[in-house]
Amino acid sequence: MAVSTDTRRVAFRTNPWGRAGWLLLAAYVVYAAGRLDFTWDRFVLGLDSGAKFIGRMFPPEILQPESLAKGLMESLEIAILASFIGIVISLPIGLLAARNLMPAWATWPARAIIAAARSFHPVIVAIIFVKAVGFGAMAGIGALTVASVGFIGKLFAEAIEEISLKQVEAVRATGASFMNVILFGVMPQVFGRFIGFATYQLDSNLRNSTMVGIVGAGGIGGTLFSAFQRFDYEFVAAILLCIIAMIMVGEVLATWVRGVFVEKGRVEDE
């Protein structure tokens, strides 16, 4: 290629469409803020009531210890049950959805299930379950199971699609049955990552299990919501602190699980 002798050689190409896009975005931000009365004055007004609210939260006080304990226990149970059931269901579905191992007639339905499970926020699914099976923990477990299947199923399928097929080929060449190819050729390659997904989902389910109660699907969320409605803000503060403590314990637990199942050095690809 000939070197240009032009003294004004272009080192960086201008991108007019890109610039127009940024300008358009800036204009829309200003427009939307104006429409929604998102102004400094409104913010200052909000600060005032915020200060009052926070003032009433202190000192935190546990007004209904039984209700708090029961709610927390229920949330924990919902999270663990939903994670367990979700993992058990998402294993085969994720496997069926992996396009490098399965024919199209298997991947399409599996992918459809995963997509459906992922399309709604857990709150919406929880409302549907409350309407379907009635108030209580059952609805929460159902909602979070759906969320878990969507999340783990999708990531598991993607992990399988990235494996080395050479290792699979070698196991196939020994005359291994399909299940044995999965067990010895596929699972060892994805197991570490799968544990990572599962513990992350357990973490996420713990968080979400404190929230599904707001729509009546069991757990601490219900207690929290009624405390809000009774303006028992000191109790609200106590519940929030308890939730923080529970999430932290959950995080420690998840780290421990990862440590047990995944030896040191096996998580290098996460």
Binding site: V171, T174, F184, Q189, F191
Partner: protein, 252 residues
């Protein structure tokens, strides 16, 4: 001399009309090491992979153990595969499993999935795996993870895994192409010794003509999807090598 493997009129087209294998017919004796040499892309690898059906042949017959492998399906195919061990260029060990687990995966054609999952392999298989580890010079490596080994060590595991199957035929697809010259010689002599020791005929694809001459009882030269030479090392004259690889500037 009875043939243990007989390929008749084998054709493979990955793309319709483009023959990678153009009617290969070869018979292999029940003992000895056969080297298949040829330039890259002449279908050596495809030929080997057709034999254990990792690649589907387009047409032709593959007679082995009284069956036509080319037309087997499902369980019958898996049972035929159990009797054919394969060694790969890049070892293809399951990297996150231990050496012992990799060896035992050679028995997966015989072990039920539940037992395999629980690692409940027959004690005889485990004992044999330890013996084979001794044989390939990796005693004491059983619990190491496969990805902790060097290339030469991995290929030794690869060979041991194939022999674990108690195969009636051992295929090797360029087993030394990823290895240095010294290790290549060690691996080739191991392949030959294993074949003799366990009475298994060995078919090896390779690039290295000198290595083939040194270790093979019989050399098959392929070019353009057909067999252009079939005979002993002594018959590999410059003219024959030209017909296999083309050109001559590389012959010094």
């Amino acid at each position: 001399m009875s043939a243990s493997l007989e390929v008749r009129g084998l054709v493979k087209e990955y793309v319709r009309g483009k023959r990678v294998l153009d009617g290969i017919s070869l018979a292999f004796a029940a003992t000895g090491l056969t080297a298949i040499i040829g330039a890259s892309g002449t279908g050596k690898s495809t030929l080997l992979r057709c034999v254990n059906r990792l690649v589907e042949p387009t047409s032709g017959e593959i007679h082995f153990g009284g069956r036509d492998i080319a037309h087997l399906k499902g369980r019958d195919l898996r049972e035929a595969r159990r009797e054919i061990g394969m060694v790969f260029q890049e070892y293809n060990l399951v990297e996150r499993l231990t050496v012992m687990e990799n060896l035992l995966s050679g028995r997966l054609g015989y072990v039920h999935a539940l037992k395999a999952w629980l690692r409940k392999f027959p004690q005889a298989d485990i004992d044999r795996a330890f013996d084979l580890l001794d044989e390939v010079g990796l005693a004491g490596y059983a619990t190491q993870r496969a990805d902790a080994l060097s290339g030469g060590q991995r290929q030794r595991v690869g060979i041991a895994r194939a022999v674990m199957q108690r195969p009636k035929l051992l295929l090797a697809d360029e087993p030394t192409s990823s290895l240095d010259p010294k290790t290549s010689v060690e691996i080739m002599s191991l392949m030959r010794d294993m074949g003799r020791e366990h009475g298994i005929p060995v078919i090896v694809n390779m690039h290295d003509v000198e290595l083939a001459k040194r270790f093979a009882d019989r050399i098959v030269g392929m070019a353009g999807g057909t067999v252009v030479y079939d005979g002993g090392a002594e018959g590999l004259t410059d003219n024959v090598l030209k017909s296999i690889y083309g050109g001559e500037s590389w012959l010094t």
